[in-house]
């Protein structure tokens, strides 16, 4: 009888399954970093949201890693222009692809231009409106809202604001300027009717047309600014010169390989080209005009 009861007890206990395991302690931590090779951070300014940015520029970083195997490159995105500015001006990045305005500013923080995006003619600002908005002239925007990706975006903010200002609209009084964080956000605000016009630049607009043709069909490019110089590629002054040169060379020759062409097509861009700091004086000139005509420039954040 005792054996029978013991057997039954064992059956019930067996049903409990994971019994008797001692509670395991959690993970342990140390302040000492594991030994690892130096990683060079290559930052791209918020052309797209971080996920999409990685999809487009991730292969470029892989390309650099493969062709300069002794050096490790790491891509870093930023959730918005403010964050990018803060990190750039704090010299966090070893390499960066800022917009022309940020490129110019970075020169004052120890960076120098080693290359730039080609296709300068594409570096324009474009103003999108809904086809059914009834907006015909710049003056029709009076009293309405206009969206921009960020206050310091050159092509997608400053150049269009200069265009509005020089085409009969007081940017600071006649319209309400909304800085919505990203290019896609600026476009979506127009589509949803939250704003009367949304400002961006050709690359994001082309991408939007591919991804959302039905939505894009309800929008039209109403105005486009004069082109300026495209985004620059900068290297921090403590990056070895030979490494900076090799990176610049790989970018400059990217369009000569099928793999490189495929990467450029996704950006979309025909090529990178070599450049130096002097190429960005045109930005300085534009900014001078902009600050005189539209509004004072924001002090770069650190």
């Amino acid at each position: 009888m005792r054996k029978l009861l013991l057997g039954l007890t064992l059956i019930v206990l067996a049903a409990c399954g994971r019994d008797g395991e001692s509670e395991k302690s959690g993970p342990r931590f140390t302040a000492q970093a594991p030994e690892a090779a130096k990683e060079y951070i290559f930052a791209i300014h918020p052309l797209h949201n971080p996920i999409r940015l990685f999809e487009i520029y991730g292969p470029l970083i892989d390309y650099l890693n493969r062709n300069i195997p002794e050096t490790k490159f790491k891509l870093e995105a930023s959730r918005n222009y403010d964050e990018f500015d803060k990190k750039l001006y704090a010299r966090k990045f070893d390499f960066a692809l800022p917009n022309p305005y940020q490129t110019l500013n970075s020169l004052r923080h120890g960076y120098h231009v080693i290359a730039k995006m080609g296709d300068d003619h594409k570096f324009t600002g474009i103003v999108l409106v809904r086809r059914d908005s009834g907006i015909r002239n710049v003056a029709d925007l009076k009293g309405k809202k206009v969206s921009y990706p960020a206050r310091t975006a050159l092509a997608a903010t400053m150049m269009p604001q200069y265009y509005f200002q020089t085409h009969g609209l007081d940017v600071n009084r006649d319209i309400e300027n909304l800085y919505v964080g990203s290019q896609e956000s600026s476009i979506m605000n127009v589509y949803l009717g939250t704003v009367a016009a949304g400002v961006t630049w050709p690359l994001p607009w082309e991408a939007f047309q591919k991804e959302h043709p039905n939505k894009a069909a309800e929008l039209e490019v109403k105005w486009e600014t004069e082109p300026l110089i495209n985004n620059g590629v900068v290297a921090r002054d403590d990056v070895p010169e030979t490494l900076a040169s090799r990176v610049a060379h790989l970018l400059d020759t990217l369009h000569t390989t099928e793999e490189g062409k495929a990467m450029l097509a996704r950006m979309p861009l025909s090529r990178f080209e070599l450049a130096d700091d002097s190429r960005y004086r045109v930005i300085e000139d534009f900014l001078a005009k902009f600050s005189r005509t539209v509004r004072p420039l924001d002090e770069p954040r650190k």
Binding site: E21, G26, G58, S78
Partner: protein, 496 residues
């Protein structure tokens, strides 16, 4: 099994089997339920941890790509409200803590073996710990095809343990309650069965003690016990009846023996006065015949003849009685040899010199030699007697094996008899012909029948009036005779 052997009472066996069976059944069922519930709860906990890790991974991707640790910390803070959360963290591929529910750990590097194994593992869901007390799951954060970080979530399982313990306690109580109810039910059933079966056992004990009038009286439903009691009663009725018959048969046998003994004694005692009558009548005839007239002499002759006849009758009675009383000496008897000897003796005694006798092959048999010799002597005497009026009297003696019997016959070509009297043929002092035609008392075939009967055999006759008679007797064929069956059958058939 040993337990059951030790529990001699079937009542105890019923109670134990019923109670233990119920306890076992409910126990197994409860264990099964606990097992199922346990599996469900642990699986649910696993899925919950995996879900949290997945949500954290999805929410963290942008922040990780932007290396925005402050934003990441904000994201992870949203997970802190989970009641079972032990920790949640985001790890860089190099093992650096990018965000943690304990903010003090941000910036540190994991150093335990499991965590170090994790950062080297392929970017897919990893179960770091899945124990009774906690589940620790890691999921990769990917951007496109790029693995950019790990999320790791650990949930405690105190609630599961608590729920399972409560369920086990409830199950145990339920098991005890069910076992108690089963015990009471089994006890009631066993008692009722025990009472009814006990009454049957009591009847059997009474019968064993000699009381054949005892009967089972089981009240209640018409179930198996009632049927058993009714069957037992019918069996006891039949037993009582057969006992009565057995006692009658025994009494009859005793009476029969006493009668035989009496007959033997009477016959024996009658001889004495009969011899006196015979002696004195002979003296009278021999010495005083001159004093008797013719009528007196005739009457004296009648007395003398009847005295002789009565003497023959008494002798036959004694012979007949003796065949029933004398002990049997069983041995292998060569029937053919025996028949030849008997024939020679009878021929000599009767003076039948012109008799044609044909003896076939007779199978041997196990029996009493002198009795069987008596059989053949009687049959041959009769055959000679009833065929003597024929000009060419003829006797055939034969035998064969048929089935499990050895069958013998003596056939004559005498006067035969009407078969309607065949039933009377083997009775004591039964005669189908007048004593004036053929002498004899009519005891011979009765003796044949008795001897055949004492050997376990039988007799019968076949006859055609004025054409002859065949008397058959069959004895159980022993092993010795079996081999002769095939050999002799054809010949014997031809003779019959």
């Amino acid at each position: 099994m040993r337990i059951f052997r030790e529990l001699q009472s079937f009542k105890r066996q019923i109670v134990l089997t019923y109670t233990a069976g119920f306890f076992l059944l409910i126990g197994v069922f409860a264990a099964y339920l606990v097992q199922i519930e346990s599996g469900y709860l642990y699986r649910d906990s696993y899925n919950e941890a995996a879900g949290l890790a997945g949500s954290l991974a999805a929410s963290s991707a942008s922040w990780v790509l932007a290396d925005d640790l402050v934003g990441l910390q904000e994201v992870i803070r949203a997970f802190q409200s989970h009641p079972e959360l032990r920790y949640a963290m985001v790890l860089s591929p190099s093992g650096r803590v990018l965000a943690h529910t304990d903010a003090a750990k941000v910036g540190l590097f994991v150093s335990d073996p499991q965590s170090l194994a994790l950062i080297k593992a392929p970017p897919e869901k990893q179960t770091i710990a899945d124990s009774a007390s906690a589940i620790d799951i890691a999921l990769p954060i990917v951007a496109g095809i790029r693995h950019i970080a790990w999320t790791r979530v650990a949930l405690g399982r105190k609630r599961i343990i608590h729920n399972l313990r409560r369920m086990i306690v409830s199950s145990a109580l339920f098991m005890l309650l069910a076992a108690a109810l089963a015990f009471l039910s089994a006890w009631a059933i066993a008692n009722r069965l025990g009472y009814r079966v006990g009454s049957l056992v009591q009847v059997l004990e009474e019968v064993q003690a000699g009381n054949f009038n005892a009967r089972a009286g089981v009240a209640g439903a018409s179930d198996e016990i009632t049927k058993l009691a009714n069957g037992l009663n019918r069996m006891l009725d039949a037993l009582a009846q057969s006992e009565e018959l057995r006692q009658h048969a025994r009494a009859l046998e005793i009476a029969n023996r006493e009668l035989e003994s009496f007959s033997y004694s009477i016959s024996h005692n009658l001889n004495v006065p009969l011899r006196a009558i015979d002696g004195y009548s002979r003296i009278l005839q021999n010495e005083h015949a001159d004093k008797l007239d013719d009528e007196g002499k005739r009457l004296l002759n009648v007395v003398r003849n009847n005295t002789v006849r009565m003497g023959n009758l008494i002798d036959d009675i004694l012979r007949f009685t003796r065949t029933g009383r004398q002990g049997m000496k069983i041995s292998e008897v060569r029937m053919e040899e025996l028949a030849r000897d008997a024939l020679a003796e009878v021929k000599l005694a009767t003076g039948a010199s012109n008799l044609q006798a044909d003896i076939g092959h007779l199978p041997s048999v196990r029996g009493d030699f002198s009795m069987l010799r008596e059989v053949f002597k009687n049959l041959l005497s009769n055959a000679i007697k009833f065929s003597r009026l024929k000009q060419a009297p003829k006797i055939q003696i034969g035998g064969y094996i048929e089935g499990d019997e050895a069958i013998y016959f003596v056939k004559d070509n005498g006067i035969g008899f009407d078969m309607k009297y065949a039933d009377n043929l083997f009775g004591v002092f039964q005669r189908l012909h007048g004593v004036e035609e053929f002498e004899g008392t009519g005891i011979g075939l009765a003796i044949v029948k008795r001897i055949a009967g004492r050997h376990g055999g039988r007799v019968w006759a076949e006859s055609v009036l004025n054409d002859g008679t065949a008397i058959y007797f069959a004895l159980p064929a022993g092993d010795a005779a079996a081999g002769e069956a095939v050999k002799n059958r054809g010949q014997s058939r031809a003779l019959s």
